[in-house]
Amino acid sequence: MNTQEHAISHVHRDDIASRMGMWLFLFTELLLFGGMFFLYAVYRYMNAEAFHIAAKELNTLIGCFNTAILLTSSLTMALSIIAIQKDNRKLSIFFQLLTIVFALGFMINKYFEWTTKIHHGIFPGADVLLSRDSGEILFFGLYYVMTGLHGLHVIIGAVLIGVMTRLTAKGIINKDSFVKLEAAGLYWHLVDIIWIFLFPLFYLIT
């Protein structure tokens, strides 16, 4: 930020580089979750029976509902980019806000899902859970850590889109310069795709 006159003297803009940087960052995110998918795979292999029993306790309906919400939010995110490309700022802002609303909806569902589980005494360190088979302890440990970290990414993504909405309103993101919005979109699709894997692994494979 030091040299504004420096910035004026040669405006360096390279959208391909920005996209490349974002993709590299997404690789790191995938590997971050990759470590946990690795743990899941090993523990599922070691405790197939217990994972089977534990998975039945998760509410598939809420899971399905959340999956639908996230998939739709990916659509609205993509639409907001198309809107800005067509120079329709208002529509783009509308779709971005809609994406944030979906993100909030997802988190509210998650909140109720978690609190119900915690109410039943199923959380790390709880006596009810500790009295069960160690495979089930691992299943719920992974469940909380993986969906928790994913939830954190949903929140970060929503904040990021909020910032983009502000930049769009200010006109910094516009028809000719929307690489920031694209990057935020890529991040949001990543959040989506991680859920696409989490959902079957925890809710559907019973």
Partner: protein
């Protein structure tokens, strides 16, 4: 003040990056600067502060071991000190040593660019680095004291220990993030910002090694990030993912830890190899021998190095097939390293060698790194590994590689590039004196560890049997010689910033790479006009050599 106004002030000459103030004055003009050169120097200064702390802890450990039994500290303090020594040296000195300091400063110049691809992310990575370092050091002062687990944070002890393990984990997590951002920046910069005409095979070899390193940084670091985070979660909530009492598997932790931490070894060594590949041809006045082999061996090291992690765990419980596979892969990874060593030696052969300080340190690197590399092969052999696992043989081995290798690589880079960065020359004679102190001290310090490790001296032990006394005594004396060498070397370098002979010539050592074609110290935007590259980076005018034949 616009840059034009400054240019006029300096008689039409572009001001150097040191003179150019940007916004604010003094410290502010440094810590808010997105200039890759200033960020490089921010890293250099913070790095040296952390290094001083790391050396002090190492010195205290050696002092404790000078005689059997308690000497100057109790066992708990000893455990905390070797943990701090490891964490600081690895995460705060060796990993960022060359990429963050010299990579930041010279990568854009060497490829003919004005800056890195994301200058603000570059500054952010320094802030994260400083934050991580401060958290790691501050954890000493908090109640409970700093972590006592060793830098590997092995479970289950790291979950049970009452010390501030969480702070150290968090510090390492932040430092990892800083490292990722640097790597991401470098990959993008190298792909997108090379000067016209600089094809992949016209890049200097240090860029190849920084490129390979950057990929490892991007791809491996997230794994340690999540692993350390999981240990912290384990400490906070008792989730049980690694806790055998709850069904978890501690060996899985070790796998996840080494999946990053072995490639991290190559994050540490590859950039140093890059520096050596720059220095050798300059002082031998010869084109580097086997350019493509050295370039591809960097990629090869990055690839194979990512597949050998379990050789740290041969005694931790693994199938025989697993042991066999990881042992084979470990031998394979030695090949690209050896290719480099052979090519450097071949470059020196029949060169017009000028034994200037940078070359002296580079030769030190080759010698010590070779010993480190060969002893690494001993350890990759399954049967031998059973004998020397977790002994001071291992400690000696990785100090030969990390200190004798990367450490000497950093010293080489300092003697090679600091005059360019500051426009001041250090005293050559003192630099050479320092080298011999370092070299002799280093071998006196670490070689006895090979012997006692072979005899069975375990690593990380605070006390030992009397039969090891003589080796520990020699080793401790070595540490004093080494530290004298460090003091001489750093005093010489730091003194040169103020009192050294000013250097104004562009090409201080007669190198052929781009940094020697810009003013000393470089101006804010490095190049007045982005150069067009037509020659490969080590085209020494051997065309002049036919003179010899003419004489005949």
């Amino acid at each position: 003040m616009s840059s034009d106004a400054i240019a006029i002030e300096h008689n039409g000459k572009e001001p150097s990056y040191l003179e150019y103030k940007g916004r604010g004055r003094g410290l502010k003009s440094w810590i808010t600067s997105t200039d890759h050169k200033r960020i490089g120097i921010l890293y250099l200064v913070s790095l040296l502060i952390f290094y001083a702390a790391g050396v002090t802890f190492g010195f205290l450990m050696r002092l404790e071991l000078i005689a059997p039994g308690r000497t100057i500290m109790d066992a708990q303090t000893y455990n905390q000190i070797f943990t701090l020594h490891g964490v600081i040296m690895i995460f705060l000195f060796v990993i960022p040593g060359i990429p963050a300091v010299f990579g930041n400063f010279f990568l854009p110049i060497l490829i003919g660019a004005k800056d890195v691809a994301f200058p603000r992310i570059n500054l952010l990575s320094w802030y994260l680095f400083a934050l991580g370092g401060i958290i790691a050091i501050l954890s000493i002062t908090l109640p409970g004291g700093s972590a006592d687990t060793g830098w590997t944070f092995y479970i289950p002890y790291s979950v049970r220990s009452g010390t501030n393990v969480t702070y150290t984990l968090f510090a390492a997590f932040i430092l990892g993030f800083s490292s990722i951002l640097t790597g991401l920046n470098f990959v993008t910069t190298i792909h997108r910002m090379r000067a016209p005409g600089m094809t992949w095979f016209k890049m200097p070899l240090s860029i190849w090694s920084l490129y390979s390193t950057a990929w490892v940084q991007v791809l491996a670091t997230p794994i340690i990030g999540i692993t350390l985070l999981l240990v912290a979660v384990e400490r906070w909530f008792g989730v049980g993912l690694f806790d055998p009492a709850l069904g978890g598997d501690p060996v899985l932790y070790q796998h996840l830890f080494w999946i990053y931490s072995h490639p991290a070894v190559y994050i540490m060594i590859l950039p140093a190899m890059g520096v050596i590949s720059e220095v050798i041809p300059v002082f031998a006045r010869r084109t580097i021998f086997g350019y493509k082999f050295i370039a591809f061996s960097s990629i090869g090291i990055a690839l194979f190095g990512s597949l050998v992690w379990a050789h740290h765990m041969f005694t931790a419980g693994m199938s025989e097939t697993g042991q066999f596979v990881f042992s084979i892969l470990t031998f394979l990874v030695a090949i690209p390293s050896a290719i480099k060593v052979f090519n450097w030696t071949a470059t020196l052969y029949k060169g017009s060698i000028e034994l200037a300080p940078p070359l002296l340190y580079a030769l030190g690197f080759i010698f010590l790194f070779s010993i480190g590399g060969f002893t690494g092969l001993f350890q990759g052999t399954l049967a031998v590994n059973m004998q020397i696992h977790d002994t001071s043989f291992i400690v000696a081995h990785f100090h030969y590689v990390m200190f004798g290798g990367t450490g000497f690589g950093i010293f080489t880079a300092m003697h090679y590039w600091l005059p360019k960065m500051f426009g001041r020359m250090y005293n050559h004679k003192t630099a050479k004196t320092a080298f011999w102190f370092l070299f002799v001290g280093f071998n006196t310090l670490y070689f006895p560890m090979f012997i006692m490790g072979w005899m069975g001296m375990p690593r990380r032990y605070y006390d030992y049997l009397p039969e090891y006394h003589i080796y520990h005594l020699i080793s401790t004396i070595g540490s004093w010689i080494l530290i004298i060498g460090l003091i001489i070397m750093f005093t010489n370098l730091i003194k040169s910033f103020k009192k050294g002979k000013p250097v104004t010539e562009q090409n201080i050592w007669g190198g052929e790479t781009l940094e020697w074609q810009v003013p000393t110290p470089p101006p804010l935007e490095n190049f007045e006009h982005i150069p067009t590259i037509t020659e490969s980076p080590y085209e020494y005018k051997q065309n002049d050599e036919p003179h010899l034949e003419e004489i005949k």
